[in-house]
């Protein structure tokens, strides 16, 4: 999976390209500092090119969300596919995130 971070003032777009399985999530987790830093502002999680997500990925999403909540930031999940939407539903994430 590829992770592309695009920061404009206080709005950061993080695009995930590919499959976010456990190994990919573990790799992405190395960038958690940047994610949490960005969470002070608005974080747009661009999922338009995310094919798959497992619980490890969800933990990254949740960590960002928690950081945003702590810092008064905002997380927007954008363009999730049906499979990921299904996972969000099963995990109650649909309630935790602003989905666009």
């Amino acid at each position: 999976m590829q992770t592309i971070i695009n920061k404009q003032q206080d709005e950061t777009t993080i695009q995930f390209v590919g499959r976010m399985d456990t190994p990919a999530a573990q790799e992405a987790a190395t960038m958690m500092d940047k994610f949490q830093e960005a969470a002070s502002g608005t974080v747009i999680l661009d999922c338009s090119k995310l094919e798959y997500i497992s619980s490890s990925g969800l933990r990254i999403f949740l960590s960002i969300r928690k950081a945003a909540a702590a810092q008064g930031g905002k997380v927007i999940v954008q363009d999730i596919n049906d499979n990921i939407r299904n996972v969000f539903m099963m995990t109650g994430f649909l309630n935790l995130f602003e989905i666009r």
Partner: protein
Amino acid sequence: MRAGLLLIIVAAVTLEATSLIQFFYAQRGLRSEATLRAETELEITNNRILDIINQAETAVHNSEWIAKWCLDYPDSLVRVATRLVRDNQVIMGSTVALVPGYLDRHQLFAPYAYEDTDGRLAITSLATPEYDYPEREWFRKPLELGTGYWSEPYVDTGGAGILMTTYSMPVRDDSGNIAAIMTADISLDWLTGVVGDVKVYPSAFSVLLSRQGELMVSPTDSLVMTHTSQELISGFEDTTMQRINRAMLSGGSGSEPLKFGGKMHQIYFAPIEKTGWSMSIVIPEDEIYKGLKKTIGWVSLFQLLGLAMLAVILFAIYRSVLKYKDLNDRKERMDNELRIGHSIQMSMVPKIFPPFPDRKDLDISAALVPAREVGGDLYDFYIRDEKLFFCIGDVSGKGIPASLVMAVTRSLFRSISGHENSPGAIVSIMNQSMSSDNDNSMFVTFFCGVLDLASGHLRYCNAGHNAPFIFTDSIRTLPVVPNLPLGVDKSMTYQEQETDLLFDNALFLFTDGVSEAENSQKELFGEKRIREVLSTRRDAQAHLEAINKAVEAFVGDAPQSDDITMLFLHYLNFHLSLRNEVSQISRLAPFISKIAKVKHLDSTLASSLNLALEEAVTNSVMYAYPEGTEGTVDVEAILNEDSIQFVISDNGIPFDPTAAPAVDTSLGVEERAIGGLGIHLVRKIMDNVSYRRDGSRNILSMTKKI
């Protein structure tokens, strides 16, 4: 043999019978020919004698009128006699003897003209009281009979002692009274010549008898005119001779067989006209049949030779037939044994397909088509301890010798692999055993594999066999160390190799009978064609049939040159064996997509199953083994008709993920725990999730209805 003997006997009997008939008819023919010849001779001789006799008779008759005319002048009668003698060569003497009393009652008158011993004409008178001619036969007979009369032959004692006869005839005067008897003494010198000349057969002879039975002509000169036939035959008891003698003396003619001198003879006899003589020709029978006997002898000899040849030929034929029959019998026996050999050989290799109908993780099929009834190719496979032991091999050579080695090879494989799991060890031990007593330098190219059915781990060892094909994403040649064939070097240590078979991977093992199948243009089928045929997706059995068909089509009318053996092994175990590393989790996605392909799952369900499996496996990979220790996590998918079951197992510390507390998805962001989502998702996605500890293994089983 009996029929042959019978044939010879029948042939012999037929031949002999025909030659007997032939002999009989030939004999008859020869006899009638002899008869004809004898009768002809008799007639000719008769005519020749008559010719001379008539000459004499005619001469006498021609002189009758002169004699008659001279009757009145008796002194001139001497001239009549003289003329007769002078003018006729056969007439040696002549007289005109007056009947006593013709001139003068008591006067005898008979002037006699004759040739003396010097051949000069002499004249004398027979009218002497000593001679007393009126009492002589030559005078009395014609006087009594009144006709001409031939006297009994006699030997002229006065002259040269030659055989003579006398013809005398009456001379009548004008009143018809007999006035004189005119005679002609005729030499019968020529008779011996005329009669003795008759040589119908070389050793035939003729006998001329006078009226009284005097022998006038005889092969034995001493008997001539000294013996009568009666005297000669009086010593014989055989009445035939008497009968013939009587017949001859009474002027009869005919032929009779007669035995004398120890031989059979045929006697032909006939009278000589006018003279009252009888002539016989005596022919020894063996003379008559001499030619025939000679011919029959030759014929019999040739027949015997023919029969002997026939016997020899028959015997030769009989022997060759026997030999042929024997060969046939032997061939039949051989064929039969080869058939049995074939079925024994076929019973040595597994030939019921599918061999493991209950197993869904393995599709295996194999085929062995010997070029002859029995061959030197082999394959084998069986499962022990959840391991598939399989092999393929090709014994050098063909036919029975190769088939024996094949049997040995197969037995060794079975017995050694029964307690040995390493293919390298199996092959090495087999090689040692086969190299030990390999007097005939037979060798075997061999490939042996041991597939761990649970993990797909394949260990294999090659012994000079051609490399199998492995089917993963593409068809490749399985990398093999060539090594030496079995039975070449006893000390050889065989290297073992390994690889992992994933779900849907396959192996195609074959002997060079496939790759080197030859068509009539001597082209080889080749590995390229094998790959082409196998590139179509089929089950194992269909693959082999397709190869067979392709090879047959390629080879055409050319005879199968080598044994054709192949083994197709399709590994269908949905199994993954993962090391306890997070990176291994990425292998799950292709694993699931294959299942999705097989079970025709839509992408949403496939993705869900992927997620559930990932969560379960991640648990094991991350928590089963203590930090820093290596371990494996095994994943197995069991595909049922209406459900898919995953079994995730490891050898790690007991860990029951299902015991984790449920996640409350209704909690807000602050309250939500970071962990625990994995097992939550598993529960959400799967219909049934259960954990058990089996010995040292954690076993998590989860099922999804589809």
